[in-house]
């Protein structure tokens, strides 16, 4: 009979807390529909790895399957890069190609990354950990994982939880920040939209040229940018429809299926339950808030010089949480003026945020690698 209960004596309070955290992530995924494809596997994985002597992780000489998956597919950045192929195949860059000037707001909304870099350094994190934490502000899971892995950050689990949780909370985080720093008059600014034709040649050459430009400037970002653009090239070339569909659906789903549960290998209680985790969760929120702040403030600054004003809210859509942020901005615009449709502009900025966040991640790797 003892054999049934001997493991019960090995339960520690930290493990129980991690079970609760895992349960909360699962609850948020199912009941609140918050990034369920990642939060549910992470939540379940958090429970798996925090059972006493769990066979899912390495115990002495017995190598656990989650550690096998982590070493084979996450620590070498394979999973995030494969996911980027799928994401690239999903994204239609046409709105961006129609109005490339709005890309500036994608750059503006990466302010949160660099602000958080300073904040994390102030709180005592080492430079490479601070840089890894700062990239939560990229609002892009694969980029966050890629950079954190590259820097061998000890906080990968916390960084992922923060990144994906806050991405799902964009509709709650952004509106109060935007309302605080804009006036009602500014939020009611109307922006006209004229559809412009973009040639197929441009759509094909764009991912190729972007990869070359980013790669020449920051060689460390070639894998990140290159895989994203490879996925997009498959989509736009017009002769690889089945590959494009596979990348968008099967590949993206397959990788997502394993990514969340594998990252949970870094959510063991001893590593996860620390003051640093709480600080990282706080810094992640700071990153998202200041991404929003940066995008909006650059738009307000440009409006000083522009005759035809920009609605500064679209600056906030430069955060890479696609398409949620674009929808949030459109909804806020309609709340102020039910004839003000900002969706096409905010989608353009939101898509450019995806590129800008990857470029920012690459520059962080170059500057601090």
């Amino acid at each position: 009979m003892e054999i049934l209960f001997e493991n019960l004596m090995l339960i520690e309070w930290k493990m129980v807390i991690m079970w609760i955290i895992g349960g909360v992530l699962i609850y948020l995924a199912i009941k609140k529909n918050m990034e369920p494809s990642l939060l549910l596997p992470m939540g379940f994985g958090a429970i798996l790895v925090n059972l006493p002597l769990s066979g899912a992780v390495t115990q002495g000489t017995e190598v656990g399957i989650l550690d096998v998956l982590f070493n084979a597919c996450v620590s070498n950045e394979l999973f995030p890069l494969l996911l980027f192929v799928g994401i690239g195949a999903m994204i239609d860059f046409t709105p961006l190609l129609q109005n490339p000037k709005l890309m500036l707001f994608g750059a503006a909304a990466q302010f949160g990354i660099f602000f958080t870099l300073g904040a994390a350094t102030l709180l005592g994190f080492e430079l490479k950990d601070a840089a890894s934490i700062a990239v939560i502000g990229a609002a892009d899971g694969p980029t966050s994982i890629f950079v954190a892995n590259h820097f061998n950050s000890n906080y990968l689990g916390a960084i992922m939880v923060a990144a994906y949780s806050y991405m799902a909370l964009v509709p709650i985080i952004q509106p109060p920040v935007i309302k605080l720093i804009t006036s009602k008059k500014e939020r009611r600014i109307r922006m006209e939209y004229t559809e412009k034709k973009v040639s197929k040649t441009t759509k094909i050459l764009f991912p190729i040229f972007l990869t070359v430009i980013a790669g020449l400037i920051s060689p460390q970002s070639v894998a990140l940018v290159g895989f994203l653009m490879f996925g997009n090239l498959i989509r736009e070339c017009g002769v690889l429809d089945s590959l494009s569909e596979t990348a968008q659906k099967v590949l993206a789903n397959l990788v997502t299926l394993f990514l969340g549960i594998t990252v949970a290998a870094r959510m063991q209680a001893d590593a996860f339950l620390s003051v640093e985790t709480l600080m990282i969760l706080g810094l992640g929120l700071v990153a998202f808030v200041f991404d929003t702040f940066g995008g909006v403030m650059v738009a307000k600054f440009l409006n000083i010089f522009l005759k035809k004003k920009i609605n500064p809210m679209i600056g906030a859509a430069g955060i890479s949480a696609f398409p949620m942020s674009a929808r949030v901005i459109n909804k806020m615009g309609l709340e102020e003026d039910n004839q003000n449709f900002l969706l096409m502009h905010s989608i353009c900025v939101n898509v450019s945020g995806q590129i800008a966040s990857v470029i920012a991640g690459g520059l962080i790797l170059k500057m601090f690698g």
């Binding site: 890309m103 990466q110 300073g118 040649t201 441009t202 470029i359 520059l363 962080i364 500057m367």
Partner: protein, 39 residues
């Protein structure tokens, strides 16, 4: 609190953000040229 480290990182952080703008500006020019050449 690592105030010295914070003060040291500020210039790098600002330069980093500026660099993102610079790269995006190059991309904007690239796209504009592509749109002009391939109408």
């Amino acid at each position: 609190m690592n105030i010295n480290g914070f003060l040291e990182i500020i210039p790098s952080a600002l330069v980093g953000w500026a660099n993102v703008f610079a790269v995006i500006l190059i991309v904007v020019v690239m796209i504009s040229l592509l749109n002009k050449i391939f109408k």
